[in-house]
């Protein structure tokens, strides 16, 4: 079972992701963060298998959130789900991300990507 920390500032998108992931027997939502600061705090506390990260949330710049997650939860894979492209993160932070998916990604691809990222 892959434990996922959902980091997304839009409440309706967060609710959808919770429903989508909880409906998959191989995935489990272990926490939800609504901004970058909460993402860093919860990643350290919960040590999830995967951090599903929206970029462009309130709080620290996204590249700092990526680097911070790497530091506080070094074994967690980071999967970005965002309406922004990888250029928003810059090359160094992008290299630390297991996958970068657009928000238009279909459910099957999202779930498969999270399972694969959690499996290392």
């Amino acid at each position: 079972m892959t434990g996922v920390l959902v980091c997304e500032d839009a409440p309706d998108m967060r609710a959808l992701l919770r429903d989508v992931l909880d409906a998959d027997p191989g995935l489990r939502v272990v926490g939800e963060a609504h901004d970058g600061s909460a993402a860093l705090r919860l990643a350290g506390q919960l040590q999830p298998d995967v951090v599903l990260l929206d970029i462009g949330m309130p709080g620290p710049p996204s590249r700092d959130v990526v680097e911070g997650v790497r530091r506080v939860a070094p074994s967690a894979a980071i999967v970005v789900l965002s309406g922004y492209g990888p250029d928003r993160l810059g090359p160094e932070a992008s290299d630390q991300v297991a996958a970068h998916l657009p928000k238009t990604t279909d459910l099957a691809t999202l779930r498969r990507t999270l399972r694969e990222a959690g499996a290392g």
């Binding site: 462009g56 657009p102 928000k103 459910l107």
Partner: protein, 241 residues
């Protein structure tokens, strides 16, 4: 390719300021629209998963229509995002196999190619110096533009390339309907009226993406169409040889 005496030809170039403004707009629009489309498509998919039996044939047909419409908007949003990405991505020039880029692009379009029953003829292709990722995107959009235009079942697409001392010329030709002169002239403009009206037509930015990829390599794009049908889109990449 069918040739007549009077091909219509156009070369595309964008002003840098225009490209930057468009990039900023595309990134913002893709972000805003992407969240809405993601939500709608996500709940439609959940509905299919959890309630297919209760929906019945009529409900499922309506859901098919809903998802089909969302799929078109999804492609539109992803095109916008790609336009922004192509503008911002660093260009890493290195020796690259054009045939591998074409194969990867064809692989990414395997489903629509099979649906259209189209044969893609690949001629000899040179090895060149370019950004491998951008080159694959270039062929994906060139092929998608051709696929959107051709008639299913009778379509033909040909990919060719030549290398010369000043660079390389890559070309994708199709036997789709002829383009009016006004459409040839606007082909490489963002949000141009796309060739074809199916799902693959997307946001009408495929050819604009091709042009930006060429320009980011210091090159250019051109197109010519013939009154009897068909269109050839060429990409010139100086220094690629």
């Amino acid at each position: 390719m069918i040739r007549t005496a009077a091909p219509i030809r156009h070369e595309g170039h964008a002003r840098p300021d225009d490209a930057q403004a468009l990039n900023a707009f595309a990134a913002r629009a893709a972000h805003s629209l992407g969240t809405g489309v993601g939500l709608a498509a996500g709940y439609a998919a959940l509905l299919r998963e959890s309630s297919a039996e209760r929906l019945g044939a009529e409900g499922l047909a309506a859901l098919d229509g809903l998802e089909g419409g969302l799929d078109r908007v999804r492609l539109f949003v992803e095109d916008l995002l790609e336009l922004a990405v192509v503008e911002a991505a660093p260009v890493h020039r290195a020796p690259v196999r054009v045939d591998a880029a074409v194969a990867a692009a064809i692989d990414s379009l395997a489903e629509p190619i099979a649906e259209a029953g189209v044969g893609v003829e690949i001629g000899p292709l040179p090895d060149i110096v370019a950004d491998a990722g951008l080159l694959e995107r270039l062929f994906r959009h060139l092929l998608r533009g051709a696929l959107a235009a051709i008639e299913p079942g009778s379509g033909r697409i040909a990919v060719s390339g030549t290398r010369h001392p000043g660079g390389a010329r890559l070309q994708v030709t199709d036997n789709g309907p002829a383009l009016a002169a006004v459409d040839v002239h606007s082909l490489f403009e963002p949000f141009a009226l796309p060739r074809g009206s199916g799902r693959l037509a997307g946001a009408g930015v495929s050819m604009a993406i091709c042009r930006r990829i060429a320009e980011r390599h210091g090159g250019s794009t051109s197109a010519h169409s013939h009154r009897r049908g068909g269109c050839a889109v060429a990409v010139l990449l100086p220094g690629a040889a």
